[in-house]
Structures are given as C-alpha cells and as structure tokens.
C-alpha cells in the first residue's frame, strides 16, 4: 500500500466520522423541530438563529453534567458499554458508497471507505455487535431495572435482526451481489423499492426495532418500564448512548437509501460524479423524516405484542419475500424480463396477508376481554 492511498483512506474515514457526528448533532435539532411542527409547537428556537445552535448548547450542558457511577457497578464494563454502543454505529457505514469515482486534483478517488465483496454481511455483523453495548450497559449497572431493560432491548434487537437479515437476502438476490457498489449499480434503471416494496417496508420496521426507536422505543418508556439499560447512566456516558442511537439513525438511513432507493444514483450523476453525495444527503434527509414522522404518529407498542409482531409476522413475511424474489428471478430468467413484475405483485399480496393477520390477532384479543 503506497502512502498516498493510506492518507486517502485516513482522510476519507475522518471525513465520514465528522459528517456522522455533525449529522448526529443536527439530527437531534431536526427531530425536535420536526416533532414540534407535527405537534403544532415551535420547538427549540432560542440558541442562535432559528435555534440552530441548540445542539452546541446541549453538548456543552451534557459535558458539564456530573458523571455518576453507582458504587456497586462493574466499573470497567460500565464505562466500556457506551463505547461499545457508539463505535459500531460509526463503523457500520464503512461499506456504504457515497458516490462514484471523483477526480480530485488529478487523483481518482472512490467515494466509499471499503467497497468489500461482503459489504452487506459486514453491515449485519456490525449491527449484531452493537447489541453488546445494550446488554452490558444493563448488566454492569448492577440494578435489576437496568438489567431487565437491557435484556428486554437486547431480546428485541436479536429478534428483529432475523427479519433484517432476511430482507437483506431479497436485495442480494435482486442485485446478484453483496458488494454495495454493485447493488447501487443494479438499481441504475429501477430502484429496488419498486421491485420489492414490501421488503423495503419490512426492512424499515426491522431497523426501527434495531434502533430501539419509533413505536419500539422500550428504553424511552420511563413511565411504565422505568426506561431501560441506560437508567443508571448520566452525563457524557448517557450522551454516548444517545449519540449511538442518532448516529445509527443516520447510518441506517444511508443503508436504506443504498439498498432500496438507488444509493447515490440520480439524474446526471454519471456526468457530474460530485452530485452523488448530494443525492445521498437528500435521500437520507427524507428517510430520517420518515423515522421522525413514525415516532410522532404512533403510540408505543406493548412488549409482548412487539415480540409477537417480530416472530409471528415479520419473520414469516420476510421468509416469504425471499421465496417470492427467488421465484420472480427464476421466471424472469426462464420466460423473459416481464416476469420480474411477479415479485412486486406477489410481495404486495404477501404484505396484505400479513396485515390481515395482524388485524385478526388484534380482533381476537379484543373479543377475549
């Protein structure tokens, strides 16, 4: 490896980390303003013009807060847990391509950190490592509520990881590759969200559960479940958990955009490769709005229903979607490309059956009371 390549990698990684951390700070502002708008409030508007300096004020406040470590806590793991949560949140975007090849000062620079041939699997494995921060944070607090909260969130994350992994499989089948740049390339003519709409929805909800967010935000349920794994954390350590959640939101929006919405592709991106990151930014911005919108609109789902939904609806549905994608691809190879449209039709049918099942189960519960 020559030194220029080395420095290129270091600079790209640094830029990505800086972008993610700034994205985290301004995502909190975006979310608070968005939520306020939906609830017809104003939201933070005092610090700086239109409240734009609010994240800075929050950061200063959190840094100067007292950090409290419970006396009976397992100190090393207690300190390590927030770090284990944050690092995967930043690492996970390493395989996401942010654009094509750009010419900077006579040097061809690929706008992605690591375009490896197992890119999709890499995302899965990093996501599965992130679970440790939650479970260890709950355990190390040496507090029954924190531990139960940690186990609760971890069980949720592990359960929804299955649906997440299986919805990856649909995309891999359609793109015929696990390399993220080839997945983007395969969506040159048609986004995968058109071919596999239900897959995109399943993926979206699985990631929401994976993030402990939206209608699945058990750690936020202070009133009824006494928060969760982060109940003993304060100051900057609590902020790190918070940071992990929001950084992961940005990362996962980037991954959704890459897998289902054509990644950095958009009009004229072949002629002007610099447009790639801009398109990515727009897509991430819109998907983040979707997440905020979901959080503002839907009540928190009860824990047993959450697990039922994960295991009895999401998992069979995503398995069926894999099967449907495979059938569509097989028919398209055998009888011509028009058969590819079998995939969206059958997917929507499968999705409708799933929604009907949810309705049925809810009705039965209502009658039982």
């Amino acid at each position: 490896m020559d030194s220029a390549l080395f420095w290129e990698m270091v600079i790209k990684a640094l830029i990505l980390i800086l972008v993610l951390l700034t994205g985290f700070a301004y995502l909190t502002y975006y979310e608070r303003r968005g939520l306020a708008r939906i609830q017809s409030r104003v939201g933070p508007n005092r610090a700086g013009p239109a409240g734009l300096l609010q994240p800075v004020a929050d950061a200063v406040k959190l840094i100067f807060k007292e950090e409290f470590i419970p006396g009976k806590a397992y100190k090393l793991v207690f300190i390590l847990a927030p770090i284990i949560t944050v690092v995967p949140a930043i690492l996970i975007t390493a395989t996401v391509p942010w654009g094509g090849v750009v010419n900077i000062g006579g040097r061809e620079v690929m706008l992605s950190i690591a375009d490896v041939n197992v890119g999709v699997l890499y995302i899965m494995s990093v996501a599965s490592i992130a679970v440790y921060g939650v479970v260890l944070g709950g355990w190390a607090s040496n507090n029954k509520y924190a531990m139960m909260g940690g186990l609760r969130s971890t069980a949720q994350m592990v359960s929804y990881e299955l649906a997440l992994g299986l919805s990856f499989v649909g995309v891999i089948l359609l793109a015929n590759s696990m390399r993220m740049s080839e997945i983007v390339e395969a969506q040159r003519n048609l986004w995968f969200v058109v071919i596999q709409p239900v897959g995109a929805i399943v993926f979206f909800f699985a990631t929401l559960a994976e993030l402990n967010r939206g209608p699945f935000d058990m750690p936020e349920a202070e009133q009824e479940l006494s928060a969760g794994y982060n109940v003993e954390y304060s100051g900057m350590k609590f902020a790190l958990f918070f940071m992990a959640e929001y950084t992961k939101m940005v990362s996962i929006s980037a991954i959704i955009a890459t897998l289902f919405f054509g990644g950095f592709r958009g009009p004229w991106v072949d002629a002007v490769p610099g447009l790639g990151p801009l398109y990515m930014f727009i897509k991430i911005f819109l998907i983040l709005f979707l997440m905020i919108w979901v959080r503002a609109s839907w009540p928190r789902i009860r824990y047993d229903r959450l697990m039922d939904f994960g295991w009895k609806i999401m998992l069979p549905l995503s398995l069926a979607l894999v099967f449907i994608s495979a059938i569509g691809i097989l028919f398209a190879e055998l009888y011509g490309d028009m058969w590819m449209w079998l995939v969206p039709i059958l997917s929507i049918v499968a999705g409708a059956i799933a929604v009907h099942t949810i309705n049925l189960s809810l009705r039965r519960k209502a009658n039982a009371r």
């Binding site: 699997l121 890499y122 479970v135 260890l136 186990l151 971890t154 592990v158």
Partner: protein, 172 residues
C-alpha cells in the same frame, strides 16, 4: 509478507491471552466477553488468510448471535459469580489428563504431518469468496448442508415444544 507475520504474531498473542482470560476469570460474564474477543480475533485470522466471507460470518454468528444468547442465560440465571469451592472434585484431574492427551495429539500431528500440507502458506483466495462457498454448499456439500439445516430445525421445534404454553393449547 513480514507485515502479515507481525500481524499474525500480535493477533496470536491476543487470541491466546483472551482464551486464557476466559478460562481464568471468576466471573462468567467476563469469561463470555473474553470469548467474544477471542472469536473476533479468530475472525481477523480468517481475514488474513483471504477469506472475508468466513471472517464476517464468524463475527455475525458466533460473536453476534451465539454469545449474546450465552450472556442472556448467564444474566437471567444470575450465576455470574463462580463459587469459591469447586463443586466437582474429580473435574480438575480429569481436565489435566485430557489437556495432556490433547497436547500430545497436537504435537504428534504437527511433527508428523507438517510436510503433507496441514500448515499452508498460500491464502485460500479462490475458496474464500462468497460465490465459491455458495457453489460448494449447493453442489459438493449439499447433503451435509441439508442435514445440518434439518438438525437445526429439529432443535428449534424441540425448544418451542419444551417451552410452549401448555395451559392454553392443551395438546403440546
């Protein structure tokens, strides 16, 4: 090649240290964490050998899924702390004996079979890619693959039956 060697030596030290740590720590959660580190180090070994697919699968399956379940069981049972006294008195001599047997076997294999290519230097580039592994799984190793999946299915059904709610259904 030398960078590879240095990397290997450092990683080997880490792998051995974490394995020893796993054995010696008196807290089961720490043991589990050492094992996670060990699995991750082994994954990096696979990367060094040019098999990224196996490396990533190692992290996802062992470090990501199985060890989380281990931690779950340890935490739910509340059995992190090992008792000071050993519960099984015959365990220590048996362990020493079995370890000795394993070491002799390993030494025998290393000293007799080195020439026939157990230790190879060439990376498995052709067999390390996802495509190659997929093709092998669905052609040469199709039967073992299917048998394994049926075994896993049986285990899954068994777990569901064992933990199933007997009051409601009545037939399980």
């Amino acid at each position: 090649m030398t960078t590879d060697l240095i990397l290997f030596l450092i990683l080997a030290a880490v792998a051995i240290a974490t394995a020893v740590g796993m054995l010696l720590s008196r807290n089961a959660v720490y043991s589990a964490l050492f094992l996670v580190l060990n699995f991750t180090t082994v994954a990096v070994f696979y990367l060094l050998l040019g098999a990224p697919f196996i490396a990533i699968t190692q992290v996802t399956v062992y470090a990501g899924a199985i060890m989380v379940l281990f931690l779950f069981v340890i935490m739910l049972l509340g059995s992190e702390k090992l008792p000071e006294r050993t519960v099984l008195p015959w365990q220590k001599p048996t362990a020493v004996f079995l370890a000795f047997v394993l070491m002799v076997e390993g030494a025998y294999l290393i000293f007799t079979q080195t020439a026939s290519g157990i230790i190879t230097n060439n990376p498995v580039e052709s067999t390390g890619s996802p495509q190659a592994i997929g093709e092998l799984l669905f052609s040469e190793y199709l039967l073992p693959f299917e048998v394994t999946s049926i075994l896993l299915l049986v285990a899954m059904v068994g777990a569901i039956v064992l933990t199933g709610d007997r009051k409601k259904g009545g037939q399980s």
